[in-house]
């Protein structure tokens, strides 16, 4: 993968696209009929089938307990499946980490090491992969610059606001120059203004670097604003209910947030969520 881009030049004159028309693009993740049943018998996921293709921005949207985080963790190789199978770049998990097949995970909380300064936190993946050296230092500088934390490399996580901690967490993911970003409700705990700002930042980085992103969220508005495709999930048992394409050009900005099209997409996704919810209640009764 090419080196990380520091976006701004492309943001000033960003290419207007309809997002990656990715139905024919190369698959990054293929999940087939995946079940996940925990030891206590809880069915977290049932028969989930999903293709994530190169360059897509997919949101997994659904109520608590619908298995969206479980599915994301399976995609990250952090959990086994009870049935079905998952492929990464059409191969087994062992391929992850090799050139052009790097994966990064951003957790719901910033998950920084409190005893280490921001720079050391961002450097961690490189240290673990024994990729130290001058090139590594440049990558850390670039990652910090991309998330606007260049001045805060020497700070401890506790000295940062919640939003800044999340940025540091994103910088730690960026430093590995990932091809696939898996983000588990990363902005859920932030205030709306910070959240909107970070949404714009992540869209900008996604566009500039050609990543593939799978993004878990509770928020219909966030899912519609960010995604090229929204995957609606239902609970009890956790399952994929519907996939909705958000056929809207990128970059997206404040105009899109207040447009009729945005409202229409939100309505469509909300109706799908309600349908999923009522199906879950029927199943439960």
């Amino acid at each position: 993968m090419s080196a990380l881009k520091l976006v701004p030049e492309s943001v000033e004159n960003p290419p207007v696209t309809n997002g990656p028309k990715t139905r024919s693009a190369r698959p990054v993740i293929q999940a087939r009929h995946v079940d996940k049943i925990y030891a206590n018998g809880t069915v977290a996921l049932q028969d989930a089938t999903l293709d994530v293709r190169q360059g897509e921005f997919i949101s997994l949207l659904g109520p608590s307990g619908c298995g969206k985080s479980t599915l994301l963790r399976i995609m990250a190789g952090l959990g086994d499946v009870s049935a079905g199978c998952v492929k990464w770049w059409e191969q087994d998990y062992d391929v992850v980490g090799s050139k052009g097949r790097k994966l990064a995970f951003v957790f719901q909380n910033a998950t920084l090491m409190p005893w280490a300064r921001v720079r050391a936190n961002v450097r961690l993946p490189l240290d673990l992969q024994k990729a130290a050296g001058e090139h590594a230092e440049r990558r850390i500088d670039t990652a910090l610059e991309m998330v606007g934390l260049s001045q805060f490399g020497g700070a401890y996580p506790r000295e940062l606001s919640g939003g800044m901690q999340m940025r540091a967490s994103i910088a730690r993911a960026l430093v590995t120059e990932p091809d696939l970003m898996l983000m588990d409700e990363p902005f859920g705990a932030l205030d709306e203004m910070t959240r909107n700002k970070l949404n714009d930042d992540i869209l900008r980085l996604w566009q500039a670097n050609g990543w593939t992103i799978v993004f878990v969220t509770h928020s219909v508005y966030e899912a519609v604003y960010l995604s090229s495709r929204v995957v609606v999930m239902g609970a009890r048992p956790g399952r994929i209910v519907e996939e909705i394409d958000i056929d809207e050009p990128f970059p997206r900005g404040p105009d899109f947030r207040v447009s009729q099209r945005f409202a229409d997409y939100c309505r469509q996704v909300s109706e799908s969520l309600e349908k999923a919810s009522s199906m879950g209640q029927e199943a439960a009764s």
Partner: protein, 267 residues
């Protein structure tokens, strides 16, 4: 303009307990004088202080003997305790197999086994040290093991995702994360090492050049030198407080940048 001393948190932190202590000593002195209690029953603080002055050299030697055992035992307890914890976290099986024996050391009264240890080990210093180690080691094992296991599961997942080895997980994640628990263990263990050393000295009843503070107390009580006994007792308690303060200082030094226990918070 300088803020009044009473608003200075550091000043209050030191002055408040000292004031309480001085007030207590004052009441004690007045009560002893007012009731006319004999010094061999309950000496006043001033009598104890003069006994301390008169027997300064004896008491200092005894203190050094006790401190030697205390520090030796504490160092061994820390090294051995941390080694046990590192062993325990290698697998649940190892922990399940060995942890009950660590508890055994904690619950066995040292007074009951000290005579045996003193018989088994000829060298007095080492026999006392072993007794004190048995007293002091459990908080280190228990706290450090807990700390090494209390890792943020997301951070652990991240380490696994980047294919970090066990050594990297230990050095970069588990050990730094366990430091607050470890220092908590040290605070308890340092005091127990001192108590262990004193209790073992009581049981051993070692006199002569190797006499510690416990022997001073025993000897003074037999000869009804109660002020000297109180002076020795006072040295033990002051040593205990200083040891605890030293542990708090070390803990703050190591954790001041990141852990809530050592950080100053402003509201």
């Amino acid at each position: 303009m300088n803020a009044p001393l009473i608003r200075n948190e550091r000043f209050v932190q030191i002055a408040a307990p000292i004031s309480v202590g001085l007030l207590f000593l004052l009441i004690w002195e007045i009560a002893v004088r007012a009731t006319g209690v004999a010094p061999y029953v309950l000496p006043g603080p001033l009598t104890i202080f003069s006994a301390l002055q008169e027997n300064w050299l004896d008491l200092l030697n005894a203190l050094l003997t006790t401190l030697k055992v205390t520090f030796l035992a504490f160092a061994i307890a820390v090294l051995l305790g941390v080694a046990c914890s590192l062993l325990f976290i290698q697998s649940k099986w190892i922990e399940m197999s060995l942890f009950p024996y660590a508890i055994l050391m904690q619950v066995t009264p040292i007074v009951a086994i000290a005579p045996l240890i003193i018989i088994w080990i000829d060298d007095t210093t080492w026999s006392l040290t072993v007794c004190a180690v048995i007293m002091a080691i459990f908080p280190v094992i228990s706290n450090t093991t807990l700390g090494l296991r209390s890792v943020d599961p997301n951070l652990l997942n991240m380490f696994r995702m980047y294919r970090a080895g066990r050594w990297q997980q230990l050095v970069r994640l588990r050990i730094p994360g366990a430091l607050p628990y470890f220092f908590g263990g040290l605070r308890i263990s340092s005091g127990l090492a001192l108590i262990g050393a004193v209790v073992a000295e009581f049981v051993a009843g070692t006199g002569g050049a190797k006499a510690g503070l416990a022997y001073m107390i025993l000897q003074s009580s037999y000869s009804l030198q109660i002020p000297k006994m109180f002076a020795a007792l006072m040295l033990i308690t002051v040593t205990g407080v200083l040891l605890f303060t030293l542990m708090v200082w070390l803990s703050n030094l190591a954790l001041r940048n990141w852990h809530e226990s050592a950080m100053k918070t402003e509201n």
